[in-house]
């Protein structure tokens, strides 16, 4: 019996590979787009304009305050009412990018605010332009604070990508769901699904921990 199930599982490995591929592609695209957008939003939010930073803050709160599943449903089912037809893949990318951008925005804001004002004042006094100040003085120092939670955010993003299976995208979780209909052994099937995610996520978790320790040590007291 267990042999039959294992054989049947082995037969569905092309499907599993496709699912893993979908999870990786979804995560990767929205990770890159979300990081760019998140940094942009974070820099805008710490800029002087009250209106812009207020709007960004409100949007970030809306996204942080609602479940990702509900956001996906909203994008997938409501944007068509505004005449924007979306396939599930695009809807998934939009939802994940938006989610990542909002969380990364908060991380970037915390990083920028951690840079001492003296640094900014010194840059001003040296006659650096706004862009130079950001690129050469503030961001390099902010990165120490930004980097560890940023990597942690990537792990969250990969895990959240599993929720897009709810609108029918065949990612790793969806593959598990499909396979379990044929091979009625949920423990084994979803254990293997878990292994798939673990292989992708665990190295990133380790990296985040290492960065945290290194950045902390570089920043902390002098060790004798």
């Amino acid at each position: 019996m267990i042999w039959q199930q294992l054989q049947s599982l082995a037969g569905s490995y092309p499907l599993a590979l496709r699912g893993l591929g979908m999870t990786v592609v979804l995560s990767l695209i929205s990770l890159v787009l979300g990081t760019l957008l998140g940094f942009g939003l974070g820099i805008l939010r710490t800029g002087g304009n009250r209106l812009i930073s207020g709007l960004i803050g409100a949007w970030v709160d809306l996204i942080r305050g609602t479940p990702f599943l509900v956001q996906i449903f909203l994008i997938f089912f409501i944007l068509p009412e505004f005449g924007i037809e979306l396939d599930a893949f695009t809807a998934g990318i939009i939802a994940l990018t938006n989610l990542a951008a909002c969380f990364i925005c908060e991380i970037v804001v915390a990083g920028i605010r951690s840079v001492p004002t003296g640094q900014v004042e010194a840059a001003l006094a040296s006659g650096l332009s706004r862009w130079q100040r950001m690129r050469q003085v503030v961001l390099p120092q902010a990165m120490r604070i930004v980097l560890p939670p940023l990597v942690g955010q990537y792990v969250l993003l990969i895990k959240d990508s599993s929720v897009v299976s709810a609108i029918g995208l065949t990612d790793l979780t969806r593959v598990g769901w499909l396979v379990v209909q044929r091979v009625p052994n949920g423990l084994l099937v979803f254990f293997l699904v878990g292994v798939g995610y673990f292989i992708v996520c665990y190295p990133l978790i380790m990296l985040a921990r290492r960065l945290e320790r290194r950045m902390g040590a570089a920043h902390g007291e002098v060790q004798l």
Binding site: P67, I78, F82, S161, N185, L187, F190, V193, G194, F198
Partner: protein
């Protein structure tokens, strides 16, 4: 566009949304209590010197943190019956949320305990306190203060995560939205309404977190 947006239908479905909201609140609360218990046990195991308890606790925490909640939920939902436990969906959902959040809470508590300066522990050892006295009188009261704000943050995450239970057809808030969307073909009305309800819960918990950190902050400054 949304020119056909029907507030009347929302009002008509309000009792359903109300039930969903109530279910979401109590099942989240119950799961949070469960997660606290799981977290405290895991953290106690993780802080042991011997490997016998520490290694399994660490492995569990890493496994939970490196896999999505949805996969964990399906693991229990499709897997438990196989082990002979045929449980209602609601119970499976609460179990999944507790086991998942517990791993995160274990790390929060650990960070709180490790944030206590070593000198405090050494001083209490020098004063001749036993392990239990040391924990109860010195370490835990201080760790408590540090852990409350991140614990409330985890509670927010838990409430949002509970939306996934709709996928195993637990009739909570998101499920109510899905019902309206599929019965009347009104996804906008259904999902925007539940989004508003979730925001209500979010701002409530966020306000509580802000309040607690201010309260704990001033309490800390006084000593």
């Amino acid at each position: 566009m949304l020119e056909n947006f029907s507030f009347r239908t929302i009002v008509e479905y309000l009792p359903l949304f109300g039930q969903g909201l109530v279910t979401t609140v109590w099942l989240s609360a119950l799961s949070f209590v469960g997660a606290l218990i799981v977290g405290i046990v895991l953290c106690a195991m993780n802080l042991q010197r011997g490997w016998l308890f520490r290694v399994p606790a660490k492995a569990y925490i890493d496994a939970v943190r490196a896999t999505p909640l949805l996969a964990q939920l399906y693991f229990l939902y499709f897997g438990l019956p196989r082990l002979g436990f045929v449980l209602p969906e609601l119970v499976v959902g609460i179990l999944a949320l507790s086991l998942n959040s517990g791993a995160y809470i274990a790390e929060i508590i650990r960070a709180g305990i490790l944030s206590i300066p070593r000198g405090q522990v050494e001083a209490s050892v020098a004063s001749g306190m036993t392990y239990v006295q040391r924990m109860r009188l010195v370490v835990l009261p201080q760790a408590f203060k540090v852990t409350i704000p991140p614990l409330l943050g985890q509670a927010i995450v838990l409430v949002k995560d509970s939306a996934l239970l709709s996928l195993i057809s637990v009739s909570e808030l998101t499920r109510a939205g899905q019902l309206l969307a599929s019965d009347r073909f009104m996804p906008a009305e259904g999902f925007l309404t539940i989004a508003a309800f979730y925001l209500l819960l979010y701002y409530g918990l966020k306000g509580l977190a802000g309040l607690s950190s201010r309260w704990l902050g001033t309490a800390g400054a006084r000593t």
